[in-house]
Amino acid sequence: MKKKKMAQVCAMALAGAMLLTGCGNDAGQSSGSGSSTAEDSQNSQNSQESQAPADSQEESSQESGGDAAADGEEVTISFTHWGGDGTYEGVYQPRIEAFMEKYPNIKVEVITVADDYETKIQTQFAGNKLPDVCQVAENGIGFATKGMFLDLSDRIQSNGIDTEALWSNVIDQYTYDGQIFGLPDRGGCTIMYYNKDLFDDAQIPYPDKDWTLDDYFDAIQKLTKDTDGDGVIDQWGTTSTHYQAIWGYMFQANGGNLIKDGQVVVNSPENLELLTKYNDAYQNGYVVSYEELEQANQGGDAYFQQGKLGMNLTGMWCIKGYSEEEGLNFDITTVPKGIQDAGWPMGSALTISAKSDPAKQEAAWTFIQYMTSAEAQAMLGDGIADCPANLETLSSDAFVNQQVNGRDLSLDIIGTSMERVTIDGLFRGPYYQEIIDEARNQMKEMLLGRLTPEQCLETMQKNFEEILSRY
């Protein structure tokens, strides 16, 4: 009897213990936070982060110690961003060092978060330990609605910062209820890469800033081929599955939206027209299929790198990697136009914590103002460490005329693309993440052949409305 009792007690205890540990069992790696930018890009292996160059290795210790400034009281502010050491060294370190040299009485302490960024700052906020300056992207609006960040509108006005000239529509992504909660720092949006050799072979003129969606859908058909004649397609027009930076911008270019003025408007004739073309392209095999991507266990970005794609629509982060590929003869251009300007934002902004004390908030404002200034943004754009958000920097000769790994690319299109960016209503509410998850889910269902475009939009409309009703 004793042994049985023991077994029961043990099992019970285990039942309890396992249940309790269950929730903490997040052995997996979450896709940080820039998720929908780099990492979601069709499982892109070439994430923005990994490509950031480690150009300035020196003195990373400076931010924590250093000599006290002679003038003024010394303030230490903390700054957090996602990514790895490479991201820090490539994207932030040079600018932060320059900043501390210029403002010796402000020290910047950097917290680099490799994984689960959102969860981390969420917890820090709940525990009143939020760093003074945080990097945010699409996730920012959700946090802003909870009162996490300082309203910067007054400061922007009193400092005479022209948001329209500097960031155009992108500022809308960081505006909630008329209040601006972040200054755009890292920029970027969907751009188009095209393989010149494959275009030559197919005898299609190179795409330019005036290319239309019709040209695009026409070209992907011509670019899809069985090059070695074994009966299996091995060269595709493009790779466009459920990644929102592709179909999402196309909806807008075609005159549609997902959410507008707080209303779900996804089930519209414009969207159906676009989605039907989008789906046909996939079903006809002009797009690398899920089965293919699964087998190769690589993202669509890699297919372009291997010369198997005519075009690739994604963020700027592929420029460095592609330009290192010797046999790849490519250039970049704006994404194809529809009936109106459109572009999907992929950047991030810098915010100030609402809970920081006033002295630190002031220092933090000086800091983010510097980081987004022309001087600092030029450092960011140098060598394409990342895409500056500042439109003036993007159109400057220094940025446009630089060479990337010895190549001349049409870098001027980045500024043009950024100017064309429009912000869907999706980005203006705390529901961004949930809506986008659901949208991707239904897009995938359609592409896998389980929904028609009509059904896909109907389901999205219904489910989006339900999601919105919960906020």
């Binding site: 049985k4 039942a15 052995a27 699964e294 087998q295 266990n297 896998l448």
Partner: protein, 305 residues
Amino acid sequence: MSDKKSRKKVPYTDRAKRQRRWFFFFISPWLFGFLAMTLGPMIYSFAMSFTDWDMFTQMNFIALDNYKQAFTDSRFLISVKNTFIYTFMSVPVNLLLSVAMAYLLSFRLKGMKVFRTIYYIPAVVPAVASCVLFKNILATKGILNQGLALLGIQGPRWLLDKECVLGGFVILALWTVGSTMVLMLSAINSVGEELYESAHLDGATRFQMFKGITIPQITPIIFFNLITGIIGALQTFTQVYMLTDGGPDYASSMIVPYLYKNAFSYYRMGYASSMAWILFAIVMVFSLIVMKSSTMWVFYEEEVK
């Protein structure tokens, strides 16, 4: 029995007191961990499950609304259903396979140790690593389907078809059968030799001995593995998170990944807590059912009269 009685009457001696103190001293790290890291959060999460807390703003008491919502949330109900289907498929198959393998590995043949090691190795591989591996194996044109193609079978799109995705997870679960197998093996090895000897003298066949001696003798271990297996399966997280993120269209969504998403992606901490407690209730019910049933099939030597 009499010994127990007499001990009760005698007051604790100094020695017993000292021993008791040492006892608490030695278990104190665990005790502290349990109170601070387990019991505390548990109570907190129970309280949270009656609020609408989002981790940012003031929490409001909303009584049973979270629980009501859970029972009308179709995505949660699908997740519960998937979790049950997965549990009922993976646990029995895992047990059968581990007993069968343990039995075969219990023979004292040359090189058996090598085989035991080989079969145990997958259990040592971290879950995340196996998931990455299985992403390749279960791919539409992956190794598994290539193998099936050799047999003339057209394999499904394991991770893309709604009907097959849970089957894919069961296949992944079998990969770690080694950890259960090891427990079964040690149980089989500890079955008394004399039982087999006498059965042998009585002319029993190998199968009769397996059925009549080995299996009854190891039922306590089977029972243990059944309980832990059910609990483990009900709490499946890593596989879903790594392989499909609940897709396609929630066909592989399970309770823990779904509540994790609600808590940390959509900031519904209160709602997520209520789901965690529903899961706790489910686990309790299953465990109790299995324990109640154990009198019918679990064999303990002490019970032999």
